[in-house]
């Protein structure tokens, strides 16, 4: 046991450093594996978000988009299970005190997953997924969590959801019934933003994301304003109004520089070092 005795020779010192090397290598390898898994989760999550947007705009003329939403959610749930499988696979690397050691490396994927999960949840229930619901989506069949869900990742994932919802509102506004859908989304996002405001002092990334949410809100309010003004000026039949709305939206999209409100995810593709 060279570690327990005083190191008084070069050999004993080198022996100790040898074990440090193994320990550090082991740590770095594990971290790399987790960063890779987190990236896989991110990629799959983005695909789910695209899928949801795609199916929701497929409907075209259907006035009731409820069946559409349920179809989209059913497809998304299959893919979400795939991600849950990835998290289950990471479980072994994250047992005991290890989870918090690698939390920063796992969190980009986790946040993206929460964004996709909460988007599907919104389309199904028109409500915000709760902390407990997200945590229980990351549990095994016996209800044991793969790892504890950090509050910060939950809130930041939801904050990204607001950006997706605004994009969803904008793209559905030109469809029949889209205007009331858009204002419904607006009310919902405004509610989320108000709820999150109180937590910004505790999470610096949340503050940045709140600013992005404000921008998204501003954009959709501009559209809603344009529509309200036009429809009050002329007593137009609904289909002509739909036309005007479609034009306004495409103007917004080309000239308004609408990006859907994303903060670049920090640490997503770097090696996971703290960069703040």
């Amino acid at each position: 046991m060279p570690m327990h005795s005083t190191l008084d020779t070069r050999d004993s010192i080198l022996q100790v450093f040898d074990s440090f090397r193994d320990e550090l290598d082991d740590h770095n390898d594990r971290r790399e594996r987790l960063i890779k898994s987190s990236r896989d989760v991110t990629i799959l999550s983005k695909k789910i978000i695209f899928l949801l947007h795609r199916i929701m705009t497929e409907g075209g003329s259907e006035s009731d988009d409820r069946p559409l939403a349920l179809r989209a959610v059913a497809r998304a749930k299959e893919k979400l299970r795939e991600i849950q499988g990835l998290f289950e696979g990471m479980r072994g690397e994250l047992t005991g005190d290890r989870f918090w050691r690698y939390q920063r490396n796992v969190s980009p994927g986790l946040q993206e997953y929460i964004e996709a999960l909460s988007f599907a949840h919104y389309l199904e229930h028109e409500s915000l997924i709760s902390y407990d619901e997200v945590q229980s989506s990351l549990c095994d069949t016996e209800g044991k969590p793969f790892f504890p869900l950090p509050l910060e990742d939950y809130l930041l994932g939801l904050s990204d959801l607001t950006g997706e919802l605004m994009r969803f509102a904008i793209s559905s506004i030109s469809r029949r019934g889209g205007r009331s859908k858009a204002s419904q989304v607006c009310v919902f996002v405004r509610g989320c933003k108000a709820d999150f405001e109180g937590w910004t002092p505790y999470f610096r990334d949340l503050r940045k994301k709140q600013a992005v949410t404000s921008q998204s809100l501003q954009k959709i309010e501009d559209v809603a304003y344009a529509i309200a003004v036009r429809s009050s000026e002329y007593d137009l039949p609904p289909e002509i109004l739909d036309d005007i709305v479609a034009r306004t939206v495409s103007n917004m999209a080309s000239g308004g520089n609408y990006t859907g409100g994303k903060v670049t995810k920090r640490q997503e593709f770097d090696d996971g070092e703290e960069c703040d």
Binding site: P2, T6, D8, W100, S127, L128, L155, G191, W199
Partner: protein, 210 residues
Amino acid sequence: MDPHNLEVINDLLDKDVEIREKIKDQVTEFDKKTRTLAGMLNKIHSTPSDKISSLLVSVRPVLESCRETIAALAELVPPNQFWRWKEMWSISLRNAVFSATLVEYLESGTLLSLPQVSDILGIQEEWKDRFVLTAEDYLHGLITLVNELSPDKNSIFVKDLFAGFAMLNLKNDTLRRRYDSLKYDIKKIEEVVYDVSLRKLAPSSNKSSA
């Protein structure tokens, strides 16, 4: 957001805020102690060799007083959350490692191992998911130690440590940066020693021991 969920979130947040505040208080204490230690140990450069041991005797109790703070920190950290909070005290802990290893080196000319430093700081085995001395913190302490020792008088020890560091595959982190900058410092000092001795400017006998 529904009221139950708000409650869940605020409860989690309140708990974390409370833990953070309490840890912060202990870290302030810890920091005071390690500053005192650093101040005392600073004197080794101006203390004649025959007075060194009495200086070290006075350092010991301060070093041992860190145990109390460390125990309080271990008590505050929830199970399995060591890595979540450790950055709050890592600077203080690294300074404590530095102080402990410097005292030992001055007394016996040997290097304290990581478990020995843990013992001196009173870190218990059963705290391992709440408070441990990690290899990284220990190695940071050693770099500070090498920084403090003048290489001309401690060249074998410093070289052995350097041989050790050279074995590690350090990632691009602070440990790596400190190790790299130390290499340049030492090279610079070696040049000074060379210049001074070449011109016979150095005194022939050494008054201090570090």
